[in-house]
Subunit: 157 residues, 2 copies
């Protein structure tokens, strides 16, 4: 199985980038994992947030194959404990799925066409975080999930 994280927004060349890269590296020890960055849709003065979301949705759809399992990171999604999230990931692995794609939306969230197409949603926190933080947050949780699945001592640190 392969896991992809699809992010709308700029790549950041700071400590955020270094931190995310650290977890990317660690994750690859357990699974084929990659992060795909979809560049922000340019917003001109007269561009509405609705138009931006529509354009971002088109770019997201281009990256998804029909057989992919897609999970949106969304504040309206299901909350998990780290243990339950690891069970969820393990469930996808043993169910013969080829690829799971987690998607972090842009600054204005997801377009309705995305919600209509993909019903699986998970919520990392009831709080709102910067996009860089959500990426880091997610990568750490996914790494933690694999350490739980593989009985690696990290989770009890």
């Amino acid at each position: 199985m392969e896991i992809q994280l699809l992010c709308v927004g700029k790549t950041d060349r700071s400590f955020w980038h270094d931190a995310v890269e650290e977890y990317e590296k660690r994750l690859r020890y357990f699974i084929k994992f990659s992060i795909i960055y979809i560049t922000d849709v340019k917003s001109y003065k007269k561009t509405t947030s609705r138009k931006i979301k529509e354009d971002e949705a088109k770019l997201i759809f281009q990256k998804i194959k029909s057989e992919d399992v897609v999970i949106l990171l969304d504040e309206k999604g299901k909350s998990f404990s780290s243990l339950d999230f690891s069970k969820e990931v393990e469930h996808y692995m043993v169910s013969g799925n080829k690829k799971i794609v987690f998607i972090i939306g842009g600054a204005f969230g997801f377009d309705d066409t995305i919600y209509e197409k993909f019903s699986k949603k998970m919520c990392l926190s009831t709080m709102t975080f910067s996009h860089q933080m959500v990426r880091l947050f997610f990568c750490e949780q996914l790494y933690r999930a694999f350490t739980i699945i593989n009985n690696h001592p990290y989770h009890n640190n």
Copy 2:
């Protein structure tokens, strides 16, 4: 008013440290803010987690004055939205409190004496995070709270 974040555990000299420092700096624009690190209690082979928590609790109590408002960051605590958390912080500010102390416990959590003394608990996520991540997570939320209170555009980024 003053806000302190009391952390049990080592100071980290990596991207975690840089990221936390960035939010520390930004927070000081809005409020007197400091992070106090309580060094891990040394764990020898025969030290139990209970003994470690007891020793850490003693060090925590030394740092708290009777008039301080204390809030434990704890998985059994109340979940907030970022907006509700900002209202909570604002509430403490207008209620004439001199200092609020948020505490992040050590690797084994808090000793029972801490729970008995301090009843206010808040939960950042249903998921478990590394201690470095929780510090960063909290500092970003506190900064976000002050940007909301002060109508700074950060929260809508």
